[in-house]
């Protein structure tokens, strides 16, 4: 279970990206985070695994205070949270399997991994995850020779290497076209339904939220302005989240 309490983030330049955000995610949920661009979605997700240091507030993961964790404890917490990035964040010149194996770094000792020595178990796991995402035959090609959708699947395989309990996905489909968006989100749905992973996913388009999320929260200017079922976002709520001029659009 993940609990975020009174989370506030002020960037060094004074931007208040999150203001007193409180919510809770139950195990097995697929929680969508929605909001305009600049509303604080990325900041929120990155605060949860402390890629960004929160300014104040607390985050509890399975009862452990993440905000108070030491670097070593943080390493252990992070490996339970797989992160999927909008820009994939692959090392383009490395081959696919090396990229996937980096998802295992939280488990291996420094000395061992620096020599690029991953165990046979890790290699097999990497191949298994790639197979699951339909990329087994691409294991030894360079990452930049893949298409955008394939690169995001590598990103998911990398997150799976952590054997996570929670997936944090920051607009995982914003760089992809609509058809690929569905294919990627279906993988996340599968992980959520079959493997029982908790998913916290920020999304830009409301119809994707309707289709995949079990629950949604909405941010506006860093404040939590909605928490509830996706179906509960009616026209009034919509205008409150996206502003008066916004129009509902569907991407397929």
């Amino acid at each position: 279970m993940l609990r975020v309490e009174n989370l506030t983030k002020v960037y060094p330049n004074g931007t208040v990206a999150l203001k007193d955000v409180t919510f809770q995610v139950e195990d097995g949920e697929f929680l969508a985070v929605i909001g305009l661009s600049g509303s604080g979605k990325s900041t929120l997700l990155r605060c949860i695994n402390r890629l960004i240091e929160p300014t104040s507030g607390k985050i509890f993961w399975d009862g452990i205070d993440v905000t108070a964790a030491s670097p070593n404890e943080m390493r252990k917490i992070r490996r339970q949270m797989g992160f999927i990035f909008q820009q994939f964040n692959l090392v383009k010149r490395s081959n696919v399997i090396t990229n996937v194996l980096t998802g295992r770094l939280g488990y291996v000792g420094s000395a061992q991994s620096l020599a690029n020595l991953f165990s046979k178990h890790d290699h097999d796991l990497a191949l298994k995850n790639l197979e699951r995402l339909g990329l087994k035959e691409k294991a030894y090609v360079r990452a930049d020779s893949l298409s955008g959708g394939q690169q995001q699947r590598v990103g998911i395989a990398r997150a799976l290497m952590q054997e996570p309990k929670l997936i944090l996905a920051d607009e995982p489909v914003a760089s992809l076209d609509p058809v690929l968006s569905h294919s990627i989100l279906k993988y996340l749905e599968q992980l959520n339904k079959e493997d029982g992973l908790t998913v916290l996913c920020s999304l830009h388009f409301l119809d994707l939220v309707h289709r995949y999320a079990t629950r949604a929260i909405a941010l506006k200017d860093g404040k939590l302005v909605f928490e509830g079922l996706p179906e509960a976002i009616d026209d009034a709520e919509f205008k409150a989240i996206y502003g008066q001029d916004a129009q509902r659009v569907s991407i397929i």
Partner: protein, 787 residues
């Protein structure tokens, strides 16, 4: 509306601005809110005033003297600039602008007048000394690489000098090949006909006048030129000349005549050309040595046999130094560069401080030229190739590390974030997210550095007394310009090859196609790591061999580092406790000015000459058409050849031509500048886009208009940008050109070191670092704005 716009103007009084500018230049502009123009004018005025004051006081430049006062006429130009500034403020206050051309032209004019005088430019010397310099050019075209065996044919006959009424001439004696003369006695100036036969047909020789005992001789000359005798098809010759004044050596006493001799001498080259002594020194030779014990023990050779051994010449030592310095600097700079990378250091506690300190050290070390480092290091490790290697490496480490650091700072942060999110440590992030990204650019910079180190290695021997630089130094001292020429050719060939290889490899690394997609069965298994492939093994073996050979040739001797001269400590202390006396700094300021101005003039001269060449050497202008392709290749070759030789090595030619001093150094710098900048310019011409040309032509513009509106705007900014960049490079080179007689700050440094006044030498280094750093920053800033 109109009220609003005029409102913003009426808040500032239009008469106040010119008044302010009259009192303090630039103040009016600042008052009007034109911050950049205002501060530029203020700074320009102050700098120019200081320059005029200093140069007229200390260097007596542009001084006019009357009975009542003594001043510099440049003040008049500065006053013009001042007036312009007042006018500009006035115009600006009315929302107009004054001519910017004038505002730029006057300061530039002042600068160039000063530069001209400070550098001691004297182009008439180039002309008046031209005849003497032909000798050097002849030597340059006839480098001493090969010789042939010679064979001499000669014959002489005696003659009595002078004729005597008392002593009849003795019967002539003959020796060697048969020669005759038509008189038995004579005095200086008497005409004489000499005949001979039996010599090789159709060859040329000379005539010599000998004392009878043969101790002294002189070539016979007529009309200021040696008398040349030429045999016909039968090997006979006839020649007429006058008895030379040399014949009067023993006195011209008719009562005491002496017997002297006339000799016809033909020296003929025979046999095939063979490597000259100079070739052996430069390129190498094969020596016979007693066989080593292990060969004898194995029964390979007889106990007293000799075996051949290759003795590499100076050029190989130079190549080895360039390679070793590159290996060392890459190996050391790669880890260091992370300390100088802001993004990595931000992740480490206290890292920002480390970052600033590291960058400052990099900047300091690379501002000081390799040769200066060599001079400093000689105190530690003595003369020899090893000291040259250390100097090359130190400078190279700092220069490469700075580039590497910038490359680390420019990586894509995404993968770093991803490894961190997966629970990776900072070290793991570096290993898996940073290193894979930086490898290609690191390799490219290393190759570029190899090229630069190769060039520096050709001159470092000047100080460390090893390698080709030392050899050149010796050749020039002995006046052996053919030997010098041979060294230049050898260097040019090696550097051109390195330049070519390095640029091809760089191109392949940075823009090469990704490896073709692997075949399906390859995809099932991980590819073999590179070092296990056949090519990988071959490269590794080659690398190891090259490394070992280079190691040996560079005379690496780490023990030397541990046993410095006992005075080292006090020398370092002296260097650090910098001299602050006014006289020293006045001398430094003076020489720094020479250095800056000489670099400025060299850049200007080189760039002006390079402009027409750039068009000749541009593929899209001359390279495509059949008829003109040879022009393209010839121009390219000239540029490549000239820039492959460091300006430092050209100084000798110009010292011979125009004498020791800043002018000679300036000309030497201009030659290399011409080569370097000509290449950059020609690339700018090659990059001209056809689109605008087409568009302007389509409007019905004629050719001249097309060039003015579509071509010039495309090439003028890069030309200016490259020229400023080159000025920056030239200042660095000009700091050492004094070692070779080219004037400037280098000479001062050498003098101080020679007098063991290290605290003064330390002051010179500080001044160099300051000037080079300022130029570096300024040039980067200006170029950034131009692009």
């Amino acid at each position: 509306m109109s009220a609003q716009t005029s409102n913003s103007r009426t808040t500032k009084n239009p008469l106040l601005a010119p008044l302010f500018s009259l009192i303090v230049p630039g103040a009016g502009q600042l008052y009007l809110g034109a911050r950049e123009a205002g501060s530029a004018i203020l700074v320009a005025t102050v700098v120019l005033a200081l320059l005029i004051q200093f140069t007229s006081e200390v260097l007596r430049i542009a001084v006019i003297e009357t009975a009542f006062f003594k001043t510099s006429w440049l003040w008049f130009l500065l006053a013009l600039f001042w007036l312009w500034n007042v006018f500009d403020a006035y115009r600006r206050a009315r929302g107009l602008s004054a001519s910017r051309v004038f505002g730029f032209a006057v300061p530039i004019l002042i600068i160039y007048i000063l530069a001209w005088q400070v550098t001691g430019v004297d182009f008439t010397r180039l002309v008046t000394r031209f005849d003497d310099v032909k000798y050097i050019f002849n030597a340059l075209l006839h480098p001493d690489f090969f010789t042939r065996d010679t064979e001499q044919q000669s014959g002489w006959v005696t003659i009595q000098v002078p004729c005597s009424p008392t002593v009849p001439p003795p019967p002539p004696e003959y020796s060697g090949f048969p020669v005759r003369i038509d008189r038995a006695c004579g005095t200086v100036g008497d005409p004489l006909t000499m005949t001979g036969e039996g010599f090789l047909p159709t060859t040329s020789g000379n005539v010599y006048w000998l004392e009878y005992d043969g101790t002294n001789e002189a070539q016979v000359r007529m009309n200021d030129a040696p008398v040349v005798i030429t045999t016909d098809a039968n090997g006979q010759f006839t020649s007429q000349f006058n008895i030379p004044s040399f014949a009067a050596r023993d006195g011209l006493d008719p009562d005491n005549p002496v017997v002297q001799a006339v000799e016809a001498r033909f020296v003929q080259e025979v046999g095939p050309p063979k490597p000259s002594e100079n070739f052996h020194i430069l390129i190498g030779s094969i020596a016979q040595e007693p066989a080593p014990a292990w060969m004898v023990n194995l029964g390979l050779v007889a106990p007293d046999a000799t075996v051949p051994r290759i003795v590499p010449g100076g050029i190989w030592v130079t190549i080895a130094l360039g390679l070793m310095a590159t290996f060392i600097s890459v190996a050391v700079a790669a880890p260091l560069s992370f300390l100088g990378a802001r993004n990595i250091m931000a992740r480490v506690r206290g890292g920002t401080v480390i970052y600033y300190v590291t960058r400052a050290i990099f900047n300091f070390v690379r501002s000081v030229d390799t040769l200066i480092w060599a001079i400093i290091l000689v105190t530690w490790t003595g003369l020899g190739a090893f000291t040259g290697l250390l100097a090359l490496s130190i400078h190279s480490i700092a220069a490469v590390a700075k580039l590497y650091s910038e490359e680390v700072e420019h990586i894509d942060e995404g993968p770093v974030e991803a490894t961190t999110a997966a629970g990776g440590t900072t070290l793991q992030s570096v290993r898996f997210a940073v290193i894979p990204q930086i490898i290609p650019s690191f390799l490219a910079y290393s190759l570029l550095r190899w090229d630069i180190n190769m060039r520096s290695a050709t001159i470092v021997g000047f100080v460390s007394a090893a390698g080709i630089g030392f050899y050149i130094f010796e050749a020039i001292r002995k006046g052996g310009y053919q030997e010098y020429a041979a060294a230049l050719w050898a260097i040019a060939i090696v550097v051109m090859i390195v330049d070519f290889v390095s640029s091809i490899w760089r191109e392949r690394i940075l823009h090469g196609e990704r490896r073709a997609a692997a075949t399906p069965q390859d995809l099932q298994a991980p590819p073999k790591p590179f070092y296990k492939t056949r090519r990988g093994i071959l490269y590794t073996v080659i690398f190891i061999i090259v490394f070992i050979i280079s190691w040996n040739l560079s005379e690496i001797n780490l023990e030397k580092l541990l046993e410095p001269a006992p005075t080292l400590g006090s020398v370092i202390y002296d260097y650090i406790t910098i001299d602050t006396s006014v006289e020293v700094w006045r001398a430094i300021l003076r020489q720094i000015l020479v250095t800056i101005f000489q670099a400025l003039l060299a850049t200007t001269l080189g760039a002006i000459v390079a402009i027409p060449f750039a068009f000749l050497a541009a593929k899209n202008i001359t390279g495509r058409a059949r008829g003109t392709a040879w022009i393209y290749y010839a121009a390219r070759f000239v540029l490549n050849f000239l820039r492959s030789i460091e300006a430092f090595l050209y100084v000798a030619i110009f010292v011979f031509w125009v004498g020791v001093g800043a002018f000679a150094g300036m000309l030497a710098l201009a030659v290399t500048t011409f080569g370097l900048i000509g290449k950059l310019f020609s690339e700018a011409v090659e990059n001209i886009e056809e689109g605008p040309v087409e568009a302007v032509t389509a409007t019905g513009a004629n050719r001249l208009q097309t060039i003015a509106f579509a071509v010039l705007p495309q090439i003028v900014p890069p030309f200016i940008s490259y020229s400023i960049y080159q000025w920056d490079i030239n200042i660095r080179m000009a700091t050492i050109i004094g070692f070779a007689g080219g004037g400037g700050i280098g000479l001062l440094f050498q003098n101080y070191v020679g007098q063991l006044q290290y605290h003064k030498a330390g002051a010179v280094i500080l001044a160099i670092v300051v000037v080079v750093t300022i130029m570096d920053l300024a040039s980067a800033k200006i170029r950034h704005r131009l692009v």
